[in-house]
């Protein structure tokens, strides 16, 4: 076992009844890199992220973690993080931190929520709830992070802050996999992009490699891969959703 953490999914298939959400998907998340999963709605991003995080069993295929032993191997931010109502942000962070002997105040400070530490979670805005979810995912300093739409619901400034944080996390001792609809942010922070469509990997490569495919901006490559219709839900350089 090496000290550099990595996650390797091999030929992962996941079905829900008659629906195949993922079909023989192989993805590598090496240490020191941010791997971004992009694709239209229903392409299998969240399912793949849940399988990678170990919270959903694949129907076939396997996911292997390589790296140092840790109390918590993978930090996971679900697509819609929720917390037990009636508790403050600090108490909520405290519950998760207690499970891994971490400092809740430091976790909140890391995501910029220290100013609202005493606010009840049911009184937090959607963006703040997501930030608290990110704080939760960081508890215990897990070597691998799986973050589902970390920038969703945040204003542009906060989204930029979160993606900067994600980029900073990808140190040699950490591997990060993130799903997002925000091509601007993905292009800025991802070392490698995996494009999913209909449960399969359409292509993968660095942002530069993907841009070279059409010679234009990344969203042009994305549009050429998944088609105009599926492209609608993706945020592009124009600042809106086309």
């Amino acid at each position: 076992m090496t000290d550099a953490p990595s996650l390797q999914a091999t030929d992962v298939t996941r079905t829900f009844g008659d629906v195949t959400a993922l079909s023989e998907v192989s993805v590598s998340v090496p240490a020191g890199e941010v791997v971004a999963l992009i694709g239209p709605n229903g392409s299998g991003k969240t399912t793949l992220l849940r399988v990678l995080a170990g919270v959903l069993e694949p129907t076939a295929g396997s996911v292997h973690y390589t790296g140092p032993p840790a109390d918590r191997t993978i930090g996971y931010l679900p697509q819609e993080p929720t917390f037990r109502p009636g508790f403050t942000a600090l108490e909520t962070a405290g519950f998760y931190a207690r499970l891994v002997d971490d400092d809740p105040a430091a976790l909140l400070e890391r995501v910029g929520l220290d100013a609202v530490a005493d606010r009840r979670v049911d009184a937090l805005s959607g963006g703040m709830t997501r930030l608290l979810g990110i704080a939760q995912s960081l508890a215990g300093d897990p070597p691998v992070l799986a973050l589902d739409e970390p920038g969703s619901g945040l204003d542009p400034g906060m989204s930029e802050l979160v993606f900067d944080l994600v980029a900073d996390l990808a140190a040699p001792e950490h591997a990060v996999v993130v799903s997002s609809h925000d091509l601007l942010a993905v292009e800025r922070i991802a070392d490698r992009i995996v494009v999913l469509d209909r449960g399969t990997v359409v292509t993968s490569g660095s942002p530069a490699e993907l841009r070279e495919r059409t010679g234009g901006p990344l969203h042009e490559t994305f549009r050429s891969l998944v088609g105009d219709e599926a492209f609608g839900a993706v945020r592009t350089r124009e600042g809106g959703r086309e």
Binding site: T73, P78, T82, F83, G86, L99
Partner: protein
């Protein structure tokens, strides 16, 4: 992080949540009103502890599972439906520690809701009943506060079993809507269904003694234990309503079995 640490973290979360919920206070007030109403209607408190137990036993037998279900039916399904169980999967939080912590935390709330009103009823008996009720003795023919304490202990055990059953149903429910439905079904099973099953088995001639057969249902087991160890203590020659060891074993099996089911459902 040990399994015990994880248990205490979840337990503390449950107790803290319960201590902040006004609904538990409301439940306790409702229980107080019902048990005092039943006792007053039967005039038991003026006669002593055992007559009071006779007055409230039927009400408590229905009330305990109802309150236990109210306290426990959302215990696990809320975390499951809202994706928090998936997040817990990424922590060193074994299913047994999680279920144990949730159960123990809610048990503290449940016992508070049930036992405080019943203990208050006991105090009421002490201040209103005849002078012989102050005698601390359990030999036959003498009413005693110890018999009432025994009733409280048996009620607590029955409540813990009913809560374990409710938590198990919450763990297998999958959604809050299904949890409500299962809670109602579970309530019927604990209050009446198991008894009906026992009577059905009796008429079918299964070749098991009646006192053992009655012990199989949690309600019958509780009722039988109250009769055997509280009410019939004062009457020579009146016993064998239920097999005490079988009833105790039955309650333990219902409770531990339910917690096992809950743990397996969470670990899936």
């Amino acid at each position: 992080m040990t399994r015990r640490d994880a248990f205490w973290a979840v337990f503390a979360r449950e107790v803290r949540a319960a201590s902040r919920s006004w609904t538990y206070g409301l439940l306790a007030l409702a229980v107080t009103a019902v048990v005092f109403g039943a006792a007053r209607a039967g005039s038991g408190p003026a006669a002593g502890y055992v007559p009071t137990v006779v007055d409230v036993l039927l009400v408590v037998e229905v009330l305990v599972p109802a309150v236990a279900v109210a306290v426990g039916y959302r215990a696990i399904v809320d975390d499951a439906e809202r994706g928090r169980l998936e997040v817990f999967d990424t922590y060193p939080l074994p299913a047994s520690a999680y279920v144990g912590g949730v159960y123990a935390g809610r048990a503290v709330a449940l016992l508070g809701v049930l036992l405080v009103p019943l203990a208050a009823l006991g105090v009421h008996v002490a201040t209103t009943a005849g002078p012989e009720t102050a005698v601390f003795a359990t030999h036959r023919g003498v009413d005693s506060p110890l018999l009432f304490v025994r009733f409280l202990a048996l009620t607590a055990a029955f409540a813990l079993v009913a809560l374990a059953f409710a938590v198990a149903l919450s763990a297998v429910a999958g959604s809050r809507r299904r949890a409500i439905l299962l809670a109602l079904v579970g309530l019927l099973i604990v209050v009446a269904g198991a008894d009906i099953g026992v009577f059905g088995a009796m008429t079918g001639g299964v070749g098991v003694d009646l006192d053992t057969l009655l012990a199989l249902s949690p309600s019958s087991a509780y009722r039988g234990l109250v009769f055997e160890t509280v009410l019939y203590v004062a009457f020579t020659g009146r016993s064998a309503f239920v097999s005490v060891p079988a009833a105790a074993a039955s309650l333990a099996a219902w409770g531990l079995g339910s917690l096992l089911v809950a743990t397996l459902a969470v670990a899936r």
